[in-house]
Symmetry: C2
Subunit: 156 residues, 2 copies
């Protein structure tokens, strides 16, 4: 059976994200899956996602790391509570801080693989470390501090 | 006379960036200007640049901070060398690291104003601090470490 992405368990009101929402028709639809101890998201940039010709735009890399980090946080939080993904009440995270180190130019035209590891879960906060590789070479490293969605961002 | 944006001085081969390239037809066309001691970029997100309904996607905020930081770095480097923007050899920067703290949910539907200040110029590196405000309220704060474009990213 094909595994369902973390983001595809988000309830409808949390599924409009430009980066990873299944209901955002203009969005990137980044999808995160579990793979053993890590989460993984694979994304192939479009030809126009360029920084300079031949290389991937850093803001797109930041977006992949952002959404993959938040998705990893949500999945980890369900796991920590011993709950199945998608059960109520929904656990949806947003980004409190994002850090990306660009280690090497990222070539355009190949799938990028982001791999996440949970570094810390504490209260409403989850810290996720992420590497982003192209053709097996790590080109960027990131850290996402994710927090449970604040009341003011919930749909009223 | 209308001021020309920093990014509009980039030579053609460096003007395809998805975030700020004037020649990227699918891109965001983020534009940075000088305003006294600071640089400023104003960008109004599209309705689909959403995180959850009513709020701006964090990856877009990271993209604005990224391109505005790199543009600010280039302009500052020309200034430090006592050169006019756009003179040869071109000074083009790329992002070595990007940090964004999301301080408050950023409302969708209003122009966002990013303001940058040069924190450090040293050798090939420029560090830029940036705030991003919506309706006068600072919603995010960022730091970009920009470095001169490496040889391997130059068009051959």
């Amino acid at each position: 059976m094909e595994q369902k992405a973390v983001q595809d368990y988000y309830p409808e009101e949390y599924s409009h994200c430009y980066g990873c929402g299944r209901l955002n028709e203009r969005g990137l639809k980044i999808k995160s899956f579990w793979d053993g101890e890590e989460s993984v998201a694979t994304f192939t940039p479009k030809s126009y996602h360029t920084a300079v010709p031949g290389f991937v735009y850093g803001g797109l890399i930041a977006s992949i790391i952002d959404c993959h980090g938040v998705g990893t946080a949500a999945a980890a939080a369900y796991g920590a509570e011993g709950r199945d993904m998608g059960t109520d009440p929904p656990l949806r995270y947003v980004t409190a801080s994002l850090h990306v180190d660009f280690l090497a130019p990222t070539p355009l035209g190949v799938p990028l693989e982001a791999r996440g590891r949970v570094k810390e879960i504490k209260g409403r906060k989850v810290v996720v470390s992420i590497t982003l590789a192209a053709g097996g070479k790590v080109c960027a490293r990131g850290e996402v501090v994710a927090v449970q969605i604040p009341e003011e961002m919930k749909k009223t």
